[in-house]
């Protein structure tokens, strides 16, 4: 499993850049992103008992608060996903997209930190890549572009949540899949089975929530 680290920024916190990681859990922070990155790499190397130049592959993510208590997460090395995070942030602050019903739904599936996170996702992303960003106590929301745009409709974004085994979301639909199926599944395939797009001016629908478990 690839190591995933999530960096968050909050100017009211000291130090302002915080991190947490999985599957090897390291928590810490730094005054700058580079400081936090250095601290994380040293912490992971210490936990794995290796040198910092012997670390496994690491995928870095940035998590930012999009509106009060709701965060977006995107891969740090991908400018397209940064653009996607800006789009989703705009939608989350647009009353025609974000209403009380959606707010309530998002809070049904929080991370272990207690707040919902929308992960900027592409339809061809492997589902396993998203599951690697979860601990058993996390849920995350996948925010993906929905390519079938009715006339006059813009900024279509679909949502579906993935829950960890012991996440707070008790009502997520359980899906028992064999590991080969999970390995071959993309977000699009997951969406085709379970997701409903949510768009500006569309009839509000509650986005689906699933919990994927690998069959042994």
């Amino acid at each position: 499993m690839t190591e995933n680290v999530i960096y968050t920024y909050d100017g009211d916190i000291q130090p302002a850049w915080q991190y947490y990681s999985m599957p090897h859990s390291c928590v810490g922070g730094g005054d700058t992103l580079d400081d936090a990155r250095q601290s994380y790499r040293e912490a992971l190397a210490f936990q794995l008992d290796v040198d910092t130049d012997e670390l496994p592959d690491i995928i870095e993510h940035v998590e930012k608060e999009a509106r009060d208590g709701i965060y977006v997460r995107y891969a740090a090395a991908d400018p397209l996903r940064d653009n996607g995070s800006q789009l989703v942030t705009r939608l989350l602050n647009d009353p025609s997209f974000f209403d009380a019903q959606l707010e309530e739904a998002l809070h049904l599936a929080p991370t272990a930190g207690g707040y919902p996170v929308l992960v900027i996702t592409q339809l061809d992303d492997p589902v396993q890549q998203l599951l690697d960003q979860l601990t058993i106590h996390d849920s995350i929301w996948l925010a993906f572009p929905w390519p079938i745009a009715p006339t006059g409709m813009q900024s279509l974004v679909g949502l579906i949540s993935l829950a960890g085994e012991e996440a707070d979301d008790l009502d997520a639909i359980p899906l028992a899949l064999d590991q080969d199926t999970i390995d071959g599944m993309t977000v699009l395939q997951l969406v085709q089975r379970y997701a409903i797009p949510r768009a500006e001016k569309a009839v509000p629908t509650l986005p689906p929530r699933v919990k994927i478990a690998a069959m042994t």
Partner: protein
């Protein structure tokens, strides 16, 4: 929607961690802990004593790493 966890200093969170976990190894500010009940996986806590940690990180650490139930975690931070 659950109540937000309060911020804690690194020292305050470390004090709670040590009630349930044993310090396995330390190098500088990096401390690797193992749960006393031997469940879960080792985790590394690298925050300085003076750090001000956001409530979400406090919640995550106590539930995900220390292995407390949400109710136990809320009690430890004075929410109950």
């Amino acid at each position: 929607m659950g109540a937000r966890f309060p911020t804690k200093t690194g020292k305050e969170l470390d004090r709670i961690i040590r009630k349930y976990c044993t310090l396995d190894r330390q190098k500088g500010s990096h401390r690797t802990y193992i749960r006393d009940d031997r469940t879960g996986s080792p985790f590394t806590f690298s925050d300085h004593d003076q750090a001000i940690l956001p409530g979400g990180k406090v919640r995550r650490t106590l539930v995900n790493d220390v292995g407390l139930t949400l109710e136990q975690a809320e009690r430890e931070v004075g929410m109950r």
